[in-house]
Amino acid sequence: MAPPIYSALIISLGLGTTMTFASTHWYLAWMGIEINTLAIIPLMAQNHIPRAIEATTKYFFVQATASATLLFAGISNAFLTGQWDITYTPYTLTSTLITLALAMKIGLAPLHSWMPEVMQGLNLLTGLILSTWQKLAPLYLIYQIQPNNPNIFIALGLLSIIVGGWGGFNQVQLRKILAYSSIAHLGWMILILSFSPPLALLTIIIYILMTFSLFSSFMLTRTTHINSLSTTWAKIPILTVSTPLILLSLGGLPPLTGFMPKWMILQELAKQSLCPLATMAALSSLFSLYFYLRLSYAMTLTMPPNNPAGTLPWRLNPRHNTLPLALTTTSTICLLPMTPAIMSLMPF
């Protein structure tokens, strides 16, 4: 893609999210989300293969539906309450409609079906943008609407954790696995949003760090299928050590960083006396751990001199821009001892 067009699209992506962050008017917030959607469409379709066009079309339809619902809900709220402030949504109808529209935007269950299909058609960098940057604006809006009834968040959250784990069970395509992992982690975020919004912020920050390192690892070795993971030892041996640790961190195993959001969320749920919910959420996240473990088996734990599962690929000239990978991998593995410091920094 020509550099001026590429930079215009990236700037528009940033502009859209920033507009939503800076707005207090429903119309402006909706416009920011629309700019975001429109900016990422050409980025998704940039390599012009039919699968990418299919993914782009699916993404456009889903996001258009969700945006239209969001606009309708915002206007209904203005009609019922007489003002356009996004923090004032006292009526259950409008706040539920806003929540469902935004849930469809970020891919929470049961509105998640588009996510794996869209992610599969994209290249890894656009997939990274889709699963990290595109979640920020809608999550901000959900954060702002002051949810008074936590039931819908609990339902969305628990269902997303279960679907995110169960759906990824049978997948061999890495991008679909990453999509289901995104659904599961967003489920954890939404679960805690009505009880402690700062914890949801912590969860999304840690999730972005972990996903960024995982996507970067896959981008370095250009792997998109579980079979091609087994040749990582031949391309970049150090990744065979760091990627399983990133995967286990995504699965939420102590003493890695991914345990921190789960621990804090379970603590908050215990304080709210929601123990059966906490138990169900914790045990459902074991589903996702199963396929993360399978990925690390394919990559590291069956290394030669054991039988390799794939054939050796052509070694083309790789782009080794590994500083972001190094930073995010370190934070994905080593950040748990800093939990007290991080929790004291969270705004209350």
């Binding site: 050590v241 003493p255 345990f259 138990t279 088996y297 069956t302 290394m303």
Partner: protein, 460 residues
């Protein structure tokens, strides 16, 4: 406490920076030095029970023997793994030793933790190095399944434990071991209290393992390389026992009714797994099931919560740790020579390897709890306190002792006596390294006959 922890942490850089020629010598000698220094923990004259305190770590008469066992085991693991790792590239050897060292660090932090959440995190943290050791360096294809069973059985039990601990922290404000015995009991609805009780104990019962949830253990022990089997059998099972001992203090008075099914299951497991041992063909599986059997007795002992039972459980944990690890090392000497774990393929070894037969004999006698070894002391104290709790348990425990003697003798006679199979043409004689390994296992066991007060726990 830090005098031992910081040198253990610094073993990691020394593994990576040592030249190849001296790697195994260096790691062995430094870990042996740390193990000798860790014996200082055994001198605990404090009246309050807690010694070597700082804000986050302490040792008391229950955790001290387990800490010393952990530190003692690292040089033994290094010694045992040397042979099968010699053919690998140097960096993989370093990675393996680093995994063993990181296990030791996590275990020291777990046993010396003074706060339940710290204990929980370190309890879980030991899973990752063990998983990597089993699935990367195991020898058969079944090791992947073994790793999955190991990870998921333990996690399915420990996630409810986390929620139970967070609930407790919410109502009491702290989870420090110093104040836990003095807390008022958290009473909520009866059903919730029962669930909370189960959630607290389930993780440790699965880890011990209790008979119904023991399926991960034969898989993990059999598929692991020798160092993995050693650390699993000797220390990681005892983490479950130690956790149970610590947490039972806060679980009264519900324990009186709710522990019945678990005690009966544990005792039944002693008999069932003992019977399975009598019909095993796989040598490592036999030793693994014998571990389940002994740990069933320990679990039953801990659940009845009398002073003699706790003491017996602790003694049996230490003695079983040393014995089981020694048996796995002996099984490994067979495996390294014949590359098979099937017992009938390696019979009559007393003719070929008479010196190893001595070690087999002593280890087998230890396994069947011969007096005056500490194994007997532990088993006898548990059986006696169980008899005091209910006289009908004597049937189960007596039968269990009989079956233990049966399968231990079966194992010894099968591997050592009888005629040599015709396909065994030449076997390497035992190396001095293997003799040293078994001496270092069995000598502490024999010395503990002379001063068992060291491992008596709170009754010292």
């Amino acid at each position: 406490m830090l005098k031992i922890l910081i040198p253990s942490i610094l073993l990691l850089p020394s593994t990576w920076l040592t030249p190849q020629k001296y790697l195994w010598t260096t790691t062995l000698s430094y870990s042996l030095l740390i193990a000798s220094a860790s014996l200082m923990w055994l001198a605990t004259p404090s009246e309050t029970g807690w010694s070597f305190l700082n804000c986050l770590m302490a040792s008391d008469p229950i955790s001290t023997p387990l800490l010393v066992l952990t530190c003692w085991l690292l040089p033994l693991m290094v010694l045992a793994s040397q042979n099968h790792l010699m053919l690998e590239p140097i960096n993989r050897q370093r990675t393996f030793i680093s995994l063993l060292i990181s296990l030791q660090i996590f275990l020291i932090l777990a046993f010396s933790a003074t706060e339940l959440i710290m204990f929980y995190i370190m309890f879980e943290a030991t899973l990752i190095p063990t998983l990597i050791i089993i699935t990367r360096w195991g020898n058969q294809m079944e090791r992947l399944n073994a790793g999955t069973y190991f990870l998921f059985y333990t996690l399915a039990g420990s996630l409810p434990l986390l929620i139970a601990l967070l609930l407790l922290q919410n109502s009491t404000g702290t989870l420090s071991f110093f104040t836990i015995p003095y807390l008022p009991s958290t009473c909520s609805t009866p059903w919730a209290h029962k669930m909370w009780w189960t959630a607290c104990l389930l993780a440790f019962l699965i880890k011990m393992p209790l008979y119904g949830a023991h399926l991960w253990l034969p898989k993990a022990h059999v598929e692991a390389p020798i160092a993995g089997s050693m650390i699993l059998a000797a220390v990681l099972l005892k983490l479950g026992g130690y956790g149970m001992m610590r947490i039972l203090i806060i679980l009264d008075p519900l324990t009186k009714e709710l522990s019945y099914p678990f005690i009966i299951l544990a005792l039944w497991g002693v008999i069932m797994t003992g019977s399975i041992c009598l019909r095993q063909t796989d040598l490592k599986a036999l030793i693994a099931y014998s571990s389940v059997s002994h740990m069933g007795l320990v679990a039953a002992g801990i659940l009845i919560q009398t002073p003699w039972a706790f003491t017996g459980a602790l003694i049996l944990m230490i003695a079983h740790g040393l014995t089981s690890s020694a048996l796995f090392c002996l099984a490994n000497t067979n495996y390294e020579r014949t590359h098979s774990r099937t017992m009938i393929l390696a019979r009559g070894l007393q003719t070929l390897l008479p010196l190893t037969a001595v070690w087999w004999f002593i280890a087998t006698l230890a396994n069947l709890a011969l007096p005056p070894l500490p194994n007997l002391m532990g088993e006898l104290m548990i059986i006696t306190s169980l008899f005091n709790w209910s006289m009908w348990t004597l049937i189960l425990t007596g039968l269990g002792t009989l079956i233990t003697a049966g399968y231990s003798l079966y194992m010894f006679l099968m591997t050592q006596h009888g005629q040599l199979p015709h396909h065994l043409i030449s076997l390497n004689p035992p190396h001095s390294r293997e003799h040293l390994l078994l001496t270092l296992h069995l000598m502490p066991l024999l010395l503990l006959i002379l001063k068992p007060e060291l491992i008596w726990g709170w009754n010292a």
